[in-house]
Amino acid sequence: MDYVRPLIGIIDAVGGRVGLDDYESHGGYDAARRAVTEMAPSDVIDLVKDANLRGRGGAGFPTGMKWSFVPQGPEVGLKYLVCNADEMEPGTFKDRYLITYNPHVLVEGMIIGAHAIGAEQGYVFLRGEYHEPGAELERAIADAYAKGLLGQGIFGTETNFDLRIHRSGGRYICGEETALLNALEGKRAQPRQKPPFPPASGAWGRPTIVNNVETFCNVPGIVRNGAEWYHDLGATDDAGTKLYGVSGRVNKPGLWELPIGTTVREIIDEHAGGMQDGYKLRGFLPGGASTDFLVEEHLDLAMDYGTIQAAGSRMGTGTMIIMDDSICPVDMCRNLEHFFAQESCGFCTPCREGLPWVESLLIDILEGRGEEGDLDILARNAQFIGGPTNTFCLHAPGAMEPLQSALKYFREDFEHYIQHGTRAPAPG
């Protein structure tokens, strides 16, 4: 089946990385030109609201609404527009692809966003390890400057927009938007107290909008084709397309732009080519390491925000990780909690002390030192550390999502370890 793919369809059309000429010959920057020369900022915000674009960075916050929180008017002064290209959520590989293969759609989305909120300075907060994507983005920005699409007086108007790349020093917590702002200011990436929220007071104390790469990439299509067109792209109540990815033991791990709300089964079986011979699916993390496990009974669910949440997880980044039957769920939790313990920023106690403690209890269980009652301790701690108001940011609650769901769906694997000190025989 052929889908409309406003984000990455052009990559196939030009047969690879999309340069400025390719992009423009497919109508690129027409939307930014129209927004900047013909639309009032409030019209752009209303359009993005009507389109029901929701943030693709994991939380799904409505983008137009977020933009509307920014104070407007000549007295407000400096504002910033920031793209979150930190992409460190394990299992997530969508923003790298967008930036490498179609960087201009991001630049164009940011120009439109800057016009909407009245920001004259933009930053792309880029993962330090993204050398190749960084080189492509740098070239795209330079080409856009050379053509007068960025800089002073863009599209022959009074509008200015400068765009620069900040390369991260590397820590998962930099992706949390207030920690990201501290990192952008050259500080330790500790999350900030909220409120004030960034639209009121963000980078250097100025009104700031932070959006994910994929979120910005959706904006040019919306401006070009309208809110109704965007609604119709979705398969369910959510609007637009989504970059879905699958990693693990499937035949064709990869990334596809599909109608938002495509079923999990279609993504895994049709697009990812199904499970490799000799492996069965036991569970999956639907949208990165910080989302709850789901299992076979959830395969026919639509991958959209509401449906996956109703099933007890989150769509997150939309890039799913398959746990096949050769993988021990207890050991997979150890791997996940190692990541979260290591990446805690260390500011609050439940996260700084609790996550390493959870990891070490999992190691005890895996090494045959588990005791009766350990699972209750794990479950209680998952609740305590994961309580949304017990820690300063959502890192710790995110860390507990895979663990609490593993305790629910794979409890017998944990129990077998505790009773026998060894791994449970593979199911089926």
């Binding site: 299992g91 997530t92 390890e129 190749e132 050259g186 250097w204 990815g245 033991r249 990780i321 990541f339």
Partner: protein, 168 residues
Amino acid sequence: MTQAARQPVESFVQVLSDEEIDEIEHECAHLPDRQSAAIDAMMIVQKRRGWISDESLAAIARLLGMSVEALDSVATFYNLIFRQPVGRHVVMVCDSVSCYVMGADGLRTRIEEHLGIRTGETTEDDRFTLLPIVCLGACDRAPTLMIDEELIGPVDADNLEAVFSRFE
């Protein structure tokens, strides 16, 4: 205390090359205040020297008008800023969940055997430093690793010579 650290305060900046100073100043010019360039400045110096020595740290701190302690607290927060010398090539093996599912733990052991060092160490000939790294954003190519600026994946644990021989 090292040689450079005993020199008068004014000459700290001279630890840095003119080129490094120019590049750092260029960053500063685009930011609301000089301290905001802290991470960029360390990355600029590390790109040329491989790591951030105490001398480099002190010189950067002075150039940016920060205390050495404040800059070091930033330096030590970040994974990619090295406060210890590294080999000519830095090998970072992804240990996050998708690579784990595709055999990253076994791969790391094989790499440790191949290079004759443990994770966190540098080979005796200073050729490779082996470090863990979190998800490299290429999970569809798991298991992955990065050598210097090059992403490699999927890595074939049975053919590690082919992976490493290109890096002298």
